[in-house]
């Protein structure tokens, strides 16, 4: 019950938020949060580390941008086409990668994504190094004009909320439980009669489709698409978002996406503030070294903080509840013993 209440409060907050924060930034956060949540569906609930998700994310964005700008297909149609593209690519990628397990799976997805990157680098329609500019938002269902950022914000919020609800539904469904069985103990899942590879494939395609949704939406939010979205560093970034927030938690990737995007966008200001505070001058140059800070965050998270923000919080609450019930139980025992 409390979870539904929390969700309701979060939704109310999200509706009111654009009056305080620039809506385009909020939309960008939501797109990346959705990207990280879809990625987490694989690593957190199926135990597969894909390093090729950037290719799916970018491919969908490019395709949606192309169909909308060059072919004049309305936004809803372009997003559907983007999702289809990433699903098909995800199907092909997973079909090859699940032939190997563990770390090999990761290397194969990375290599295939690099191949897609080179294809996009050379293909004429992507605009190469310059990227694809001027993707029009147009009108949703031919009626609602999306050029207003606030209108676009609510559309993106609806997309995000529905997609998140869908992910939560997958995780809590019998299918989701089987995925977790595959993650925890694959031989056991197989011996129970589940075709583990098929479940992995379906999970990958679902994750790819949702990643595509995030990618296509992001292309319309920002109005441009660049090779950055297809590059392997973007895959690294989504891994980091999930890791910081908490692998295998539902809300963790959202928290992680917020933290990482703030870090990326505000690093210069944070650096200047720290420089003033500590009087160490080189901290002022922090804004130019996003890569270094990202790398350090990775190192710290992997070594000290593997459960992530939400994971640590959950563990803390669980611990606190356990110790409080344990102490009340002890009181009961004392109460019984005293009369004698």
């Amino acid at each position: 019950m409390s979870k539904i209440a929390l969700g309701f409060i979060a939704l109310c907050g999200a509706i009111a938020l654009p009056s305080v924060i620039y809506p385009v930034l909020l939309m960008k956060v939501m797109c990346f949060a959705l990207f990280a949540c879809s990625f987490n569906l694989l690593i957190g609930f199926t135990g597969l580390l894909s390093f090729g998700h950037a290719a799916l994310f970018g491919a969908s964005g490019y395709l949606a941008g192309y169909t909308s700008r060059e072919l004049g297909i309305p936004i809803e149609g372009s997003i559907v086409l983007g999702v289809l593209t990433s699903s098909v690519l995800g199907f092909l990628m997973a079909g090859l990668a699940i032939r190997r397990k563990g770390i090999y799976f990761t290397m194969i997805t990375l290599a295939l994504a690099q191949m897609i990157y080179f294809v996009f680098l050379q293909a004429p329609f992507t605009g190469g190094e310059d990227g694809m500019q001027g993707i029009p938002r147009g009108k949703l269902f031919g009626v609602i004009d999306l050029s207003d950022d606030l209108v676009m914000y609510y559309v993106v919020l609806i997309i995000f909320a529905l997609a998140f609800a869908f992910i939560a539904r997958i995780v809590h469904s019998p299918f989701g439980h089987i995925l977790r069985t595959v993650k925890e103990n694959e031989p056991r899942a197989i011996s129970l009669g589940y075709d583990a590879d098929r479940y992995k494939l379906v999970a990958f395609v679902l994750s790819a489709a949702l990643t595509g949704l995030a990618g296509a939406t992001k292309a319309f939010v920002l109005g441009f698409e660049t090779l950055v979205d297809v590059h392997w560093q973007m895959s690294g970034l989504v891994v980091l978002m999930t890791l910081v927030g908490g692998v295998g938690t539902l809300t963790g990737p959202i928290v992680g996406a917020i933290i990482i995007l703030i870090l990326e966008n505000k690093l210069g200001e944070i650096g200047e503030f720290l420089a003033k505070l500590t009087r160490i001058e080189w901290l002022g140059a922090l804004g130019e070294s996003v890569t270094i800070v990202t790398g350090l965050t990775f190192i710290v998270c992997v070594l000290l903080f593997r459960r992530g923000v939400v994971g640590e919080l959950n563990a803390f609450i669980l611990n606190w509840r356990r110790s409080s019930t344990a102490s009340s139980a002890r009181k009961d025992v004392n109460a019984v013993q005293e009369p004698s």
Partner: protein, 295 residues
């Protein structure tokens, strides 16, 4: 015999040589990855970064201190080896008990930091590094001009690869290493100091990468991004060859380099992707890799 399939012979030969040179780098790098993976179960994403650091150390030695190529060819792998020693001792070692993916993520973080530092200092453009005097010319073989330095790269890489193969397969130290790969607990029970062996293996693996980096410095421009672009191709090479055998890594590396070179001659559009396409085909036909064992 001036042309083959309409391609002039000298052009074909020079691309073949470039392919062999690239193949040598693939071979040395995938060998290092395989040695590290064998004992540590860690895919060392930072391998490309160490390759880059190796090349930069050679360049820095020349530019700042006037140290020549031959000294740096030894010193650079040593310095990077010490760096690897420190990284294994202070960071990697804490991750052996958890899922292997964390090793990959840690080394990815290290890659980003190292690349970021070099990018902040030197930008993304390449720094030229001249080949040493003795190797800067070319030998006329009659049918083609053989650039001496490129021939040296191939020879030196092969020498290092074969030396590594000999050490691992034919010496007592190598026997410990192979046993440690099979069953580290048992080897430790026999009185071998496995943790030290693990540290030294990592240091050796990254030193190999730095060695390749110094070899590469005069061939390609020394730039902070030279490593991360290469390492993903090397991952594909590793998937194709399988990490089961050392000879396998060497042959796969060289072979793919040559195939890539030939693709550049006959169908340049595919030269960037041909290795990945081959990887997909190998995965379909023989999922465990050309030289790999099941599991």
């Amino acid at each position: 015999m001036d042309e083959i399939f309409g391609i002039p012979m000298p052009a074909l030969m020079s691309q073949l040589l470039i392919g062999l040179v690239n193949g040598s780098f693939y071979a040395v790098l995938s060998l290092g990855l395989a040695v590290i993976f064998g004992l540590l179960n860690v895919i060392n994403f930072a391998h490309g970064a160490f390759y880059m650091v190796g090349a930069f150390l050679a360049w820095m030695g020349m530019n700042y201190l006037g140290i020549n190529y031959w000294v740096m060819l030894l010193a650079s792998p040593l310095i990077v080896g010490v760096l690897g020693f420190a990284i294994e001792r202070t960071m990697l070692r804490w991750l052996y008990k958890v899922d292997h993916i964390y090793g990959l993520l840690l080394t990815l973080g290290i890659t980003l930091v190292v690349e970021g530092v070099f990018r902040a200092a030197y930008g993304v453009s390449g720094q030229p590094y001249a080949a040493p005097d003795g190797l800067s010319g070319a030998i006329n073989l009659g049918f083609m001009m053989l650039p001496t330095y490129r021939a040296w790269v191939v020879a030196a890489s092969l020498l290092v690869c074969i030396g590594t193969w000999y050490t691992i397969e034919r010496t007592k130290l190598g026997a410990y290493l192979r046993a440690g790969t099979e069953n580290p607990k048992l080897v430790e029970a026999f009185g071998v100091n496995v943790p030290v062996m693990v540290t030294l293996t990592y240091a050796f693996g990254v030193a190999l990468a730095a060695f390749a980096g110094v070899l590469a410095a005069p061939v390609i421009q020394v730039s902070p991004l030279m490593g991360s672009n290469l390492i993903i191709t090397v991952f594909a090479v590793v998937v194709i060859g399988g990490m089961g055998s050392i000879i396998g890594s060497i042959l796969t590396g060289l072979g793919l380099g040559v195939i890539e070179g030939m693709t550049r001659v006959f169908y340049p559009e595919l030269s960037a992707t041909v290795v990945f396409i081959l990887m997909a085909i190998v995965l379909l036909v023989r999922p465990s890799g050309l030289f790999g064992k099941e599991n």
